[in-house]
């Protein structure tokens, strides 16, 4: 039965159809929200379905893939519409569906041009899903670029502060990197074609290309640059605080929780397997920027008074762990990095949502405006505390597990990098504790009329908190899903 229903295509096109429908219904806000919610829920359900199929093997698929779809597309260049799902893609698609659902719920209050807003959110979701499922490099690139337009508009139209400046800065940074990656993709395609006379963009084929060392270095550098900008890795991060801060909450959520993951996914799925030699040669560099990122961004986060900006830096700091795990490139470290991608998306996403809720109430993101919320809005403060504890790496909550796995995995390969990264976690603790201390406890600085969470808000946060605890206590099933694909991808 599963071979009859093209689940993978549906995963991409369901949100796109939803986007069109939402846009068509834009005259009525209620209809827009309802339809958007229905489509995101349907998408999540559709993502969960393949969980039952993980044991199977799809016909014609490369090793490790249990869903596979392949059709000719642009035959002149050997470009194919090839989609595949293995454990890694499965987890990423579920994550995408989940985060988009949260984004839709947290954008419930958007009144201005709500139709376009939700249509863009859904279109963005479709592009991200496509990216996580593509097995054709051209198709991957297409989705990689197609994500930019909805994001550009989400920040620019509904942002605050200096939205146009931030969104164009974000766009130009990522666009420069992507275009260089496009050249590298074409060069790789031509090299593979010349060697085998089979001109194709199929990833499993391209992996077998023999690439001279020096050319490989240049090509890998182009891929790395493109992914490092979106990641973002130090020192290519300067677009990130502006974009995160000026975006609307749902936009920040998509940007911080999903788009940064597409870059990490690209490194794991594409850049490292394609260029094993070149990636090994540049590993020390990635270790340095990852460790620098963890410490430096944590330190800068400590200096921020604007909560959203603090979270933006905290977000990159945590992404440093993902980079660390990928650079170590052992099965343990990479599975830790993948888990950290999930945890980061959930925890940081949740933090952006709670800060967004606070801002909605008091119209300020400045730390100095708040204090003593525990006594006034206890439900909110409880969730605020939980997510911050998760972010700080408290045992029992999700980030602790993945960061520990990454540190253990990295320690075997690069003990020094692991040791310094561990020190970085202490800095994380410092700024998180201060944030919690000033906002939740502390004394009230300015008298504010604060309302506690509505049922919708409490529901959103409760779901997020449940996931945070579940992943912290029982991450086994997720790690199990990564095992089979990583055996193929990571050959130490």
């Amino acid at each position: 039965m599963t071979s009859l229903i093209p689940i993978l295509t549906l995963l991409i096109f369901l949100p796109l159809c939803g986007a069109l429908l939402v846009f068509a219904l834009r005259r009525s806000d209620a209809a827009v929200r309802g339809v958007a919610l229905a489509f995101t829920l349907a998408e999540l359900a559709l993502c969960l379905w393949p969980l039952a199929l993980t044991g199977e093997k799809a016909a014609g698929a490369p090793a490790g893939f249990f869903l596979y779809q392949d059709a000719a597309w642009i035959e002149r260049f050997g470009i194919r519409y090839t989609l595949g799902m293995d454990g890694i893609s499965l987890v990423m698609t579920i994550l995408t569906a989940f985060i988009t659902l949260i984004a839709v719920l947290s954008a419930w209050q958007v009144k201005e041009r709500a139709g376009l807003f939700f249509a863009l959110l859904l279109a963005l979701q479709g592009a991200v899903q496509g990216l996580f499922l593509s097995l054709d490099l051209f198709l991957f690139y297409l989705f990689w670029e197609a994500m930019l337009i909805p994001m550009l508009l989400l920040i620019g139209v509904w942002g605050s502060g200096r939205p146009v400046y931030s969104t164009i800065k974000f766009f130009l940074y990522t666009f420069v990197g992507s275009l260089l990656m496009l050249l590298a993709i074409i060069a790789l395609y031509l090299m593979h074609g010349a060697q085998t006379t089979n001109y194709t963009f199929a990833l499993p084929e391209l992996v077998r290309t023999t690439i001279p060392y020096d050319i490989g270095l240049w090509l890998f550098a182009a891929f790395l640059l493109s992914f490092a900008i979106k990641f973002p890795l130090f020192p290519l991060h300067t677009w990130q605080p502006d974009a995160y801060c000026d975006a609307p909450v749902a936009g920040t959520l998509m940007l911080g929780s999903l788009l940064s993951k597409t870059a990490a996914y690209g490194l794991i799925r594409i850049a490292f397997p394609l260029f094993p030699e070149a990636s090994r040669a540049l590993t020390p560099l990635i270790f340095v920027v990852a460790v620098l990122g963890i410490g430096y961004f944590a330190w800068i986060a400590f200096a921020q008074r604007d909560m959203k900006r603090m979270l933006a830096y905290s977000s990159v700091s945590h992404m440093g762990f993902v980079a660390l795990g990928i650079a170590a490139w052992s099965p343990v470290a990479v599975s830790g990095a993948l888990l950290q991608m999930v945890n980061h998306a959930v925890t940081t996403g949740a933090l952006f949502v709670v800060v967004g809720m606070l801002e909605e109430r008091a119209d300020s993101r400045d730390l100095s405006s708040y204090g003593g919320t525990w006594g006034k809005i206890p439900v909110f403060s409880f969730f605020f505390l939980v997510f911050n504890m998760a972010s700080a790496g408290v045992p029992g909550l999700n980030n602790f597990v993945s960061e520990l796995i990454i540190l253990v995995g990295t320690f075997r390969v690069a003990p020094l990098a692991a040791a310094i990264a561990f020190l970085g976690t202490i800095l994380t603790l410092v700024y998180t504790v201060r944030l919690v201390q000033e906002v939740v406890f502390g004394k009230e600085k300015t008298p504010l009329e604060l309302k506690d969470l509505s049922l919708r808000e409490a529901g959103v946060l409760a779901v997020l908190a449940l996931v945070v605890v579940a992943l912290g206590v029982h991450p086994g099933p997720v790690l199990e899903l990564f095992k089979a694909p990583l055996e193929v991808l990571v050959r130490p």
Binding site: W73, I74, E75, R76, F77, R113, Y141, L142, E145, A146, L148, I149, L152, L153, G156, V157, P163, V164, T167, I168, F171, L172, F175, V176, L179, L180, L182, L183, I186, A187, L190
Partner: protein
């Protein structure tokens, strides 16, 4: 001449007859019916060309319905039809009256249709100059605006110089090869120097026609001064016609070695200077003019690879560029009120005030910037593919970096459309003709962007 011969050049006959008919019967017919006649004739000619099979035999002296013509004539016809659809309401708003406008558009179409059919250098030259001649008139058509006349004069003066260069180049090619026939004109080794000299002089003329740096100086003034529908037609058909002429000559006199350096220089200068100059423009038509310079630089990049891939990329880019620029100038034309909206800031908030036209303009900008799923991405992909395959890697890197910078000025327009609010005059409701034209242009942008297979097949056939 047999009936079969007549059938094969029927598109040319249709356009010529329609032009004459419009000119002769114009005074007694309504202007709407003139536009309708023009659109019908262009569509008929295009469909006829697309459905007939190309031959290499000459239908009449100097003309044959070649495979290249089978690809290009429908392209030119759709550009002319869209221009006519756009110009009707534009001309009404602007007080441009009379049958000479649709007639001149049809004459220009006639000349562009002759060009790819030419089998003789003389016909080729005459066709090229007839295209320019029609455009000199079209550019200066708006009598109420002084800029229009100024632009026409500028174009005419520089165009005359370029025509002289091109004619001299053809003369040198004739001296070198001994024949005006394109099919028999193979370079004799002892005349290589003369042929190369001829190529050099033709390149000067073509640099002007394609607005390649340093022959681009007329472009911003003419695009700015001309009525917007004319700019749409000028920036697409005349450019593609000039590129087609280069392709036809390159296929016959292929001394690529000597041409590589000058073509590379023209390409790099146009890509870099065109994009840099466009960054600073406040006027949207000047910005599009400099962007046109840069895009012709990309086209030259594909041309200089000298391979079949490169030529296919040129044709694809020609088609894609036609769709994008028709959409961009079409939206500008349709959004104009009593005055045209000159500045980019005049478009503030129009994405919401005029959703269709704002959307079309934004799509055109996204496509010009080369972002998928718009067609511009496939065009750029093919160009850079051909360049890398041809070994021009450093040029490709320069080109792609300049393309990255170009995203800035295209996005500025998108930002104005959707992210700014301003006191701008409210747009008039979109007329049916404009709506059809804009939908056709933007649909082709999307379709080529997502499913370019059939178009690529047609291009393969055209290069046969």
């Amino acid at each position: 001449m047999t009936l079969v011969d007549l059938y094969s050049i029927m598109p040319i006959v249709i356009t010529a007859c329609a032009a004459l008919f419009v000119l002769l019967c114009g005074p007694v017919l309504l202007s709407a019916s003139l536009t309708a006649i023009g659109v019908t004739a262009s569509a008929a000619a295009g469909v006829w060309a697309a459905l007939s099979t190309p031959t290499s035999t000459q239908a009449v002296a100097g003309l044959a319905f070649t495979p290249l013509a089978r690809f290009l004539i429908p392209l030119f016809c759709s550009a002319a039809a869209i221009t006519l659809l756009l110009s009707h309401s534009y001309n009404e708003r602007r007080g441009i009256k009379g049958e000479e406008f649709p007639a001149t558009v049809l004459f220009a179409l006639f000349a562009t249709c002759v060009l790819p059919c030419a089998t003789n250098m003389l016909i080729l030259f005459l066709a090229l100059e007839s295209v320019s001649f029609a455009f000199y008139i079209l550019v200066s058509m708006d009598l109420n605006r002084a800029e229009s006349g100024e632009a026409g004069l500028k174009y005419l003066l520089l165009g005359a110089v370029a025509a002289a260069f091109t004619a001299f180049g053809f003369a040198l090619l004739f001296t070198g090869s001994g024949t005006l026939q394109l099919s028999g004109a193979l370079a004799r080794p002892d005349n290589r120097a003369i042929i190369s000299a001829g190529w050099g002089v033709i390149l000067v003329g073509m640099a002007f026609k394609l607005s390649l740096v340093p022959g681009h100086l007329w472009t911003p003034d003419v695009y700015q001064g001309a009525p917007a529908p004319v700019s749409a037609f000028l920036s697409t058909s005349s450019k593609v016609a000039a590129a087609a002429l280069l392709l036809m000559l390159l296929a016959l006199f292929p001394p690529m070695q000597e041409l590589r350096v000058p073509l590379a220089a023209l390409s790099v200068l146009s890509m870099v200077l065109g994009n840099l100059a466009a960054l600073k423009q406040q006027n949207i038509k000047r910005m599009l003019a400099y962007s046109s310079v840069a895009h012709m630089g990309y086209l030259t990049l594909a041309l200089l690879s000298g391979s079949r891939d490169g030529y296919a990329a040129v044709l694809l880019y020609g088609a894609v560029y036609t769709a994008m620029n028709l959409a961009a100038f079409g939206a500008i034309s349709s959004l104009s009120v009593e005055q045209e909206r000159e500045l980019i800031t005049d478009y503030a908030g129009l994405g919401f005030a005029a959703p269709l036209r704002g959307g079309v303009l934004a799509l055109a900008m996204i496509s010009l910037a080369g972002i998928p799923p718009a067609a511009g991405f496939i065009g750029k992909f093919f160009i850079f593919y051909a360049a890398i395959k041809g070994g021009a890697i450093s040029l490709a890197i320069i080109g792609i970096l300049s393309a990255a910078a170009s995203a800035y000025f295209y996005l500025r327009v998108v930002a104005q459309l959707y992210m700014h609010r301003g006191q701008v005059p409210a747009p008039k409701p979109v007329s049916l003709a404009e709506g059809i034209a804009l939908c056709c242009a933007s649909l082709s942008i999307l379709v080529i962007g997502v499913y370019p297979g059939p178009l690529l097949g047609a291009i393969e056939a055209a290069l046969h």
